[in-house]
Amino acid sequence: MIIAGRTFTSRLVVGTGKYPSHEIMKAAHEASGTEMVTVAVRRVDLSGKGAAALLSWIDRERIFILPNTAACYTADDAIRTARLAREAGLSNWIKLEVIGDEKSLYPDNEALLEATRVLVREGFVVLPYTNDDPIACRKLEDAGAAAVMPLGAPIGSGLGIQNPNNLLMIKDQARVPVIVDAGVGTASDAAIAMELGADGVLMNTAIAQASDPVAMATAMKHAVIAGRLAYLAGRIPKKPHAVASSPTAGLVTPGAPARS
């Protein structure tokens, strides 16, 4: 997977939140084989209680860090957060989130597009979190996004890919990598995303909140490889039951052919 000229061997991008401990996070990152993790930007805790610095738990020799603008609800907030993230010295990449609704955590595509345009002009490598709308993805790409990151299902829902048809449409038209961001609940969900043609998958809760995050991280590593290989290998066609003697035979499950 190549994004903005940078090559990633692993197609699995993971988060850094909601783990039981930093130790488990580190072990899960290693087990997942990931080469890119995303981190949030927040105010330093001034209470004196030096929280263990997150970055010290990430193996930066092997893992690229992708700051994000999680919890930003306007284009301005997201732009400001992106600038701070860049100045914190990691890179000029940003996982751009502009949340439209606190409950669903769905993106505000209008504000997202605006922020993408501004940040691309300022030289950022922008990876926007968007919904699974092919039109929004095309516009983000036209605005200079280095990848598009459509959601598979609501963040943290674990529902899996809700609308495979949309992902097919998005991938079919995209000239930048498509990374499914949010919605994965278990390994097969990641495999399905890859089988639909996604270039990568981003997940956090599915690993961090599993009963055994390290085992789940290993599962996800295998699932992404499995899904990618299956996509490339060319699966057998599906053969639903063919209803005899009908012009629409087998076309439609669970629909049915016309009878007189």
Binding site: G15, G17, K18, R42, A53, N68, T81, E87, I155, M203
Partner: protein
């Protein structure tokens, strides 16, 4: 002198640069970013940037978080 630091009011002994503020707060400058009055301060300007009285100052760092 008085500033708004990460949303809370904060008393300073006098005029400070960003470098001096971070030092006073015992914050490692390598893993934070600083905004003064909503403008990001470039890292190489820390020592030359004096924080004005009443300024809104934000000091941020990276924390765990992803697609929640």
């Amino acid at each position: 002198m008085h500033i708004i630091l990460n949303g809370d009011s904060h008393e300073l002994p006098g005029s400070l640069t960003v470098t001096q503020l971070l030092d006073r707060l015992q914050i490692d400058p390598r893993i934070v970013a600083v905004e003064v009055n909503r403008v990001v301060v470039k890292r190489d300007r820390y020592s030359g940037t004096v924080i004005p009285d009443g300024a809104e100052v934000e000091i941020v760092t990276f924390v765990g978080g992803g697609a929640r």
